[in-house]
């Protein structure tokens, strides 16, 4: 199965403000089917722009992007977006639509019959571990941040996409919720055979969830690989990013002795 990559960026560039801001600069990156890739970088590194290029929320200036083997510029962007799941920062739920309506929105756009959408919604609520009878008819403002993000994930999965793009999905959550949600998603990724690209500024989260990590800075791709491969990277910035989780792990080991092993 490890043949052509499911998503491929080849020498992709994107500028804003008439060329003054070079958001993405000659990036080449491939995501294999079934892979969980995390893109890590600070604000202004171009990681979110790169993600949006993949489902054409933004169009690239240079280079080629292929999704499922097709050049994204050769396909209708609306159809492209409907077959790629997208999880927005802090949910991006429609405030005037119920939980069920939010989850079922993409199937509805595709013309799926109402009854089929309803059963799909219940199935997805089970999948993201929200009580179907309790949450189906609620509105987004009646949910906690974690519940909103679970609905956001369910919405992204509704049209049975092969690919899910996630833009800092867990960034705004408290640590416990964030951990639980991360684990739950990772399990779904495996269970449904998804290919996931997740943006994060948190290297610890990337290491814990992703198979592979791509590091971006100032629009350029600095390094990519498994956590092990990254630690061998000679790049100073990558080393700096990895130092934080390492130091945290060491200090936590000291401060939180397990079973009196200290």
């Amino acid at each position: 199965m490890q043949n052509a990559p499911l998503i491929a960026f080849a020498h992709v560039g994107k500028s804003f403000d008439g060329g003054r801001v070079r958001a993405v600069d000659d990036v080449s990156l491939e995501v294999a089917e079934g892979e969980f890739l995390a893109i890590v970088g600070g604000s202004g590194s171009g990681k979110t722009t790169l993600l949006r290029l993949a489902n054409r929320l933004i169009d690239a200036d240079e280079g080629h992007i292929t999704v499922e083997g097709e050049d994204v510029h050769a396909v209708d962007p609306v159809q492209l977006r409907r077959r790629i799941g997208y999880v927005f920062q802090s949910g991006g739920l429609f405030p005037h639509i119920s939980v069920a309506g939010n989850i079922g929105v993409t199937p509805k756009l595709q013309g799926t019959p109402g009854a089929e959408i309803a059963s799909r919604v219940d199935e997805l609520l089970d999948l993201v571990r929200l009580d179907r009878t309790l949450y189906r008819d609620r509105f987004p403002h009646e949910l906690s941040g974690g519940q909103r993000q679970r609905v956001g994930v369910a919405r992204a999965l509704a049209a049975r996409p092969r690919i899910v793009l996630m833009d800092e999905p867990f960034g705004a959550l408290d640590p416990l919720t964030r951990d639980a949600l991360g684990d739950d998603y990772r399990a779904l990724h495996g269970k449904l055979g998804l290919t996931t690209v997740m943006i994060t500024h948190d290297m610890t989260e990337a290491i814990l969830l992703a198979d592979r990590i791509a590091v971006m800075r100032a629009g350029r791709l600095l390094a990519q690989g498994t956590p092990t491969e990254l630690s061998d990277s000679g790049d100073a910035y990558v080393g700096e990013l990895l130092r934080t989780p390492r130091r945290q792990a060491e200090r936590l080991n000291v401060l939180l002795p397990r079973d009196g092993a200290a």
């Binding site: 609306v78 409907r82 429609f94 929105v105």
Partner: protein
């Protein structure tokens, strides 16, 4: 007799189904047109900063223009539109009575729709795009629903404005609750003025509260509440429109301009038609230019105009001819437009120079020629338009008049001012009852500098061959002399139960019917 047992209340109430029905119809039409124009405009402008800025700027400018001024600005446009539609579709002026109100309704809707759409969180817009919505789907499924509460608030404002502004459509030929107000102001019938204001205010409040129900229903997603508001609005519209629709379409419509004499004469004509077994309704408070257009386009069937007014204002003739010659020529000109000049009522309502009888006698002034040598030491007052009218130019030329001071005044106050000596001479109206009341004298215009203003009865083109109508009106022709009309006008200005146009018209018929 208490305030509320005044018979004018029941008279006002009798007009309510007609006036209210028309008012609601104008308001609904105006609001619908306003929405139909401003909603697509606002949607089109939402992503175009330049167009958005221009629209909002224009909106705020028009909002600062007072309603009456807007109406005045609109007037030439309305006249042109009426002429066009008469030529193309065969119906005229009153079809456009709702336009100024529609313009007013556009502004809050435009502003609130643009504001509401702009206030939608960009993250939500991106999410709409991200889940695979087309721009159109994003607009209808996300942007408009989210902007709806703000838009509804705009529609509420618009509805209240329209109901208020619709009272101003009376002078351009559209019956509305404004008929009470304009008629009341002209005949000093304060019961009517109060009734009209109250009715418009109650209607505005009711509509506002029902729309508020819809707005809060939408905002809090309580659909029952919103539906209740919607049903209320529909019921209100239906209840006010049914009596208007049910009215017999075959009745004669008698027009009247915006002053007391006209109200009395139109009431008189309507009474005569009813006495002859014909059904008749009045359409009152029509502007001087509008009323003739309305007659030509068969919107009204009959009204009383003045020969000099038509001569100068309608046909733009500046030369001043002797009475018979002018009438003959006018009759021929009117016939070209298929309008019938049925005949003269017998009195003139012309401009005339007027001063207190005692003072005139003391100075030996009987005519304008006698006045001329004294003028340099005297002050003169007239209504707002007199000094810019051809009559004044003609007077100055004929008699070499030049006063020490010229003042403009509300016509109602002029007579008292000249009677009290505050001014020496006024340009009054020959048929005004106050001339008798204040013992004033009309100065003789021996050089015929002021054109004749005979009161004449005009019939609409479609009534040209209507013998029943002619027979019903024949007894009025030549019967109303100037003294009788002055007394009738004085009665109409009485400000009590016996001063309503209907009551004065009955008195007038008593007086002239046996002649």
């Amino acid at each position: 007799m208490s305030f509320f047992s005044d018979p004018r209340w029941s008279e006002a109430l009798a007009h309510l189904p007609d006036y209210l029905g028309n008012h609601v119809r104008v308001s609904v039409t105006a609001l619908a047109l306003g929405l139909a124009v401003s909603l697509p405009l606002a949607v089109a402008a939402r992503n175009q900063p330049v167009m958005r800025g221009a629209l909002l700027g224009l909106a705020s400018i028009v909002q600062t223009v007072p309603g009456l001024a807007l109406l005045a600005l609109f007037y030439p446009l309305l006249l042109a539109l009426a002429a066009l539609s008469l030529a193309w579709f065969g119906f005229g002026f009153s079809a456009f009575g709702f336009l100024p109100a529609a313009l007013y309704s556009m502004l809050p809707v435009l502003r609130n729709t643009i504001t509401g759409l702009q206030a939608v969180d960009p993250a939500i817009l991106e999410a709409a795009q991200g889940v695979g919505m087309t721009p159109r789907q994003s607009l209808f499924m996300v942007e408009l629903p989210l902007a709806l509460p703000v838009m509804m608030a705009g529609i509420r404002t618009a509805a209240v404005w329209v109901i208020g502004t619709a009272t101003l459509s009376t002078p351009i030929g559209q019956t509305s609750l404004g008929n009470y107000i304009f008629a009341g102001l002209q005949t000093q019938n304060w019961v009517f003025v109060l009734f009209g204001c109250l009715a418009a205010a109650v209607l505005a409040l009711a509509v506002d509260q029902l729309l508020a129900l819809i707005e809060t229903g939408i905002r809090s997603r309580r659909l029952l509440r919103a539906a209740l508001g919607g049903i209320g609005i529909a019921a209100l519209v239906a209840a006010t429109l049914v009596p208007t629709m049910a009215r017999s379409p075959s009745s004669y419509i008698v027009g009247a301009k915006t002053f007391a004499e006209q109200y009395v004469l139109s009431a008189l004509i309507a009474q005569r038609l009813r006495a002859a077994g014909l059904s008749a309704t009045s359409r009152e408070g029509l502007g001087s230019n509008v009323i003739f257009e309305a007659l030509v386009s068969n919107d009204i069937d009959v009204y009383v105009d003045y020969s000099g007014t038509l001569w100068a204002n309608q046909f733009h003739r500046s030369e001043i001819k002797p009475r018979e010659e002018l009438l003959g020529e006018l009759k021929a000109t009117l016939a070209q437009q298929n309008v019938t000049l049925l005949g003269e009522l017998g009195f003139e309502n012309a401009y005339a120079l007027v001063m207190p009888r005692k003072r005139a006698d003391a100075l030996g002034i009987h005519s304008i020629a006698d006045l001329a040598p004294h003028a340099r030491t005297m002050s003169m007052a007239a209504d707002y338009e007199f000094f810019s009218r051809p009559e004044w130019a003609s007077l100055q030329k004929a008699y070499g008049l030049s006063f020490r001071a010229q003042r403009q005044m509300q016509p109602d106050f002029m007579y008292a001012a000249v009677a009290s000596g505050e001014v020496d001479v006024i340009a009054g109206y020959t048929s005004d009852g106050l001339i008798a009341k204040y013992d004033l004298v009309v100065l003789d215009d021996s050089k015929h500098a002021i054109p004749p203003y005979d009161a004449i009865v005009l019939l609409a083109p479609k009534r040209a061959g209507d013998q029943a109508l002619r027979d019903a009106l024949q007894p009025l022709l030549g019967k109303i002399d100037i003294a009788t009309m002055r007394e009738a006008n004085l009665r109409a200005a009485g400000g009590d139960g016996a001063s309503s146009p209907d009551a004065v018209a009955r008195w007038l018929w008593e007086k002239i019917g046996k002649r």
